[in-house]
């Protein structure tokens, strides 16, 4: 999803996880991950929460299908618990606007704020007022510099990044009958989200599939260059059985290169739902799977973590929402599970 690209492009990254290969998703300070499903407001506390007339604000970084799904998950959970959402904003990846949004939302005195801090450095000052006011802060995928759990924030929630990369490897290996050569197009930048996903793919192929070899590795920072990168990779390795592409945007360029070459045999696996990629998949093209996240569940877990923080209950510092392997066979269910919306009509028609 675009949010991941844009978020990482706009942020200083968590360097700790950037290059090392881990067997699971880890948090910005090395925290081990807790499944988001374990973050639940106890039934015994629900009445007390409803009686509290609490309010919440959702101060997002951007607007996208992903953010809409996170918002829907959080809103449903807040509504269930009688919490009014008093402000929803979109900073459009502008750090100054995010600061203004926080100040404006604070006028309404929310008890809980859900947000993706655009940047650890600029966000530190931006969230200071909310932090000082004791607002229960829940962050998505990023952490302002110097913030300490549980004193300053309730939790960080993100995707299960390792599982996304691993499931991409498993899906590609299955489509290649567990043998052959693959190309690995990774995000060439020191960024927490994409680095963990990319490295998980590579680690899984290297460790779990001895008959598959990664014969070409190419970094990418500008999605617009994906087609030329794929062309060069195919020129050197005409027998590539599969290509991993770090996210759906550049995967569209790789797909264009394969089509231009009349290549129908090389398989593509990528991450994050995209209509053009899904359309190729359901039409039996090069794309064999898309790995997505459970964005709605992620939003629900953020809301629940905010409530638990408000109640002063223990919340795991770092939680992850599950990954989903979406194929032509389960595209409708997968899309719904990820974003809580039906797939685009073109995808359904092509299925």
């Amino acid at each position: 999803m675009n949010y991941i690209l844009k978020a990482v492009l706009s942020a200083a990254s968590f360097g700790i996880a950037s290059t090392a290969a881990f067997a699971q998703t880890i948090g910005p300070n090395g925290e081990s991950a807790t499944p988001s499903s374990s973050i639940v407001v106890p039934a015994a506390s629900e009445e007390a929460v409803r009686a509290g007339n609490h309010t919440a604000a959702m101060l997002w970084h951007d607007q996208s299908d992903f953010v809409n799904a996170v918002t829907a998950g959080a809103t449903d959970e807040f509504t269930r618990l009688g919490i009014e959402v008093v402000a929803t904003t979109n900073a459009a990846f502008d750090a100054a606007k995010q600061r203004s949004d926080i100040e404006t939302a604070m006028t309404k005195g929310p008890d809980i704020i859900l947000s993706l801090p655009l940047d650890p450095v600029t966000s530190a000052a931006a969230f200071e007022e909310a932090k000082q006011a004791g607002v229960s802060l829940v962050f998505l995928s990023n952490l302002p510099a110097g913030y300490v759990h549980p004193d300053h924030y309730a939790a960080i929630v993100t995707d299960d990044l390792f599982q996304m990369g691993k499931q991409a490897a498993d899906a590609l290996a299955a489509a290649m009958s567990n043998s052959g050569s693959v190309g690995w197009i990774f995000h060439d930048a020191n960024y927490y989200v994409t680095n963990q996903r990319d490295n998980a793919f590579k680690t899984t192929i290297e460790n779990d599939y001895p008959n598959i070899s990664i014969v070409a590795e190419q970094g990418i920072s500008d999605p617009a260059r994906a087609e030329e990168i794929a062309n060069a990779m195919l020129l050197k390795n005409p027998d590539l059985g599969g290509i991993y592409v770090t996210w759906a945007g550049p995967a569209e360029g790789v797909l264009a290169a394969l089509r231009a070459n009349g290549n129908t045999s090389t398989k593509i696996v990528t991450l994050d739902l995209s209509e053009p990629i899904a359309l190729d998949m359901v039409r039996g093209g090069n794309v064999i799977a898309i790995i997505a996240d459970e964005a709605y569940e992620l939003g629900r877990a953020m809301a629940a973590a905010g409530v638990l923080g408000l109640l002063g209950e223990k919340v795991p510092p770092f939680a992850v929402a599950p990954a989903i392997t979406v194929t032509a066979g389960n595209v409708a269910e997968g899309w719904m599970q990820s974003l809580r919306i039906a797939p685009p009509a073109s995808v359904m028609a092509g299925n």
């Binding site: 904003t89 502008d94 100054a96 203004s100 404006t104 940047d119 450095v121 600029t122």
Partner: protein
């Protein structure tokens, strides 16, 4: 002007910003009375949040009044903020401030040379320098954000107060006062208006229009530099994206504020109210609890109406 329903002598175009501003202010005051809109804190926030855009708008009023355009000020803001933040890591505040404002001024001067002396169209020149300096801002720090930990700097240009008045409010008042004085009470201001109104006539009258064009673009760069410093002070950090999203907001503020796109006419006070109007819209629509999409739609419609009224040619 004499129209049905409009009092004789009342110029709707000239007054649209003030009528629009107070109408929307009253609307939010009534509808958001219980949501804290009228609190001192919220109203102060609006001024603080719009301070950099207001200062950029002042520079742009001079440029457009002179019949030119500047699309590059957003990039100049980012380069200036980053230059200040980088220098402040090793040098005292004054050096950082000079680096920030100097960077913006140099970018403006480059635009000025290309437009005034090489006679290239300002729209295209600044479209090119917009991309050029956006790239430079990205490469300056390899996409990293730079923290600003100089307390004097963040106090004077960000979160500080003087006699209970926030420093950003003081900077806004100072910039508006200086801009208004330059625009209406100096020969330079008169030359800007004359150049924008009719450059050939201005030249015949002895005005060095190249010099005017150079100076307005340089001034616009300098105001972008000051805006960059204010962003760095307010966020206690600088980032390559600063100022990027201000382009449309600032242009809308200037046009709604009564500056004619074809040059020769403008208003610094109008630009101030235009900028405050944009900030008030952002603030009020969030407090109304509208979804993000609805906020964008309503804001777009209001700006469209204001621009349509302020630009409508009444000579027909």
């Amino acid at each position: 002007m004499s129209r049905i329903g409009v009092p004789k002598g009342f110029d709707l175009q000239k007054s649209v910003i003030y009528v629009g501003f107070f109408t929307i202010f009253l609307f939010f005051s009534f509808t958001l009375h219980d949501d804290g809109f009228l609190t001192t804190r919220n109203l102060t926030n609006i001024v603080l949040q719009t301070a950099p855009a207001t200062i950029m708008a002042i520079g742009l009023v001079f440029v457009i009044s002179a019949g030119e355009f500047d699309l590059s000020f957003g990039s100049a803001v980012a380069v200036s903020a980053l230059a200040a933040a980088v220098v402040l890591q090793d040098y005292p505040m004054l050096v950082g401030v000079l680096a920030g404002i100097g960077a913006g001024t140099l970018i403006g001067a480059l635009n000025g040379v290309l437009v005034a002396y090489l006679r290239l169209p300002s729209f295209l020149v600044t479209l090119a320098t917009l991309g050029l300096f956006a790239g430079i801002a990205r490469s300056m720090t390899n996409l990293r954000s730079i923290p600003v930990i100089n307390d004097s700097f963040t106090g004077i240009f960000g979160s500080g107060k003087l006699a209970s008045v926030p420093s950003l409010v003081i900077w806004t008042i100072l910039a508006v006062a200086v801009g208004h004085f330059l625009y209406w009470h100096t020969r330079f201001g008169a030359h800007v208006l004359a150049t924008g109104d009719n450059p050939r006539a201005a030249q015949v009258a002895g005005i060095r229009i190249e010099r005017v064009r150079f100076l307005v673009l340089t001034l616009c760069g300098a105001t972008a530099g000051l805006a960059g410093i204010l962003y760095a002070g307010r966020l206690q950090a600088a980032k390559y994206t600063l100022g990027e999203s201000d382009l449309m907001t600032v242009i809308a503020a200037v046009i709604v504020g009564g500056t004619a796109l074809k040059g020769g006419k403008g208003s610094i006070i109008g630009a101030l109210f235009g900028s405050l109007l944009m900030g008030m819209l952002n603030n009020g629509l969030i407090l109304m609890g509208l979804s993000v999409s609805d906020q964008m739609i309503v804001r777009g419609l209001i700006i469209l109406i204001a621009v349509a009224v302020s630009l409508r040619d009444t000579s027909h």
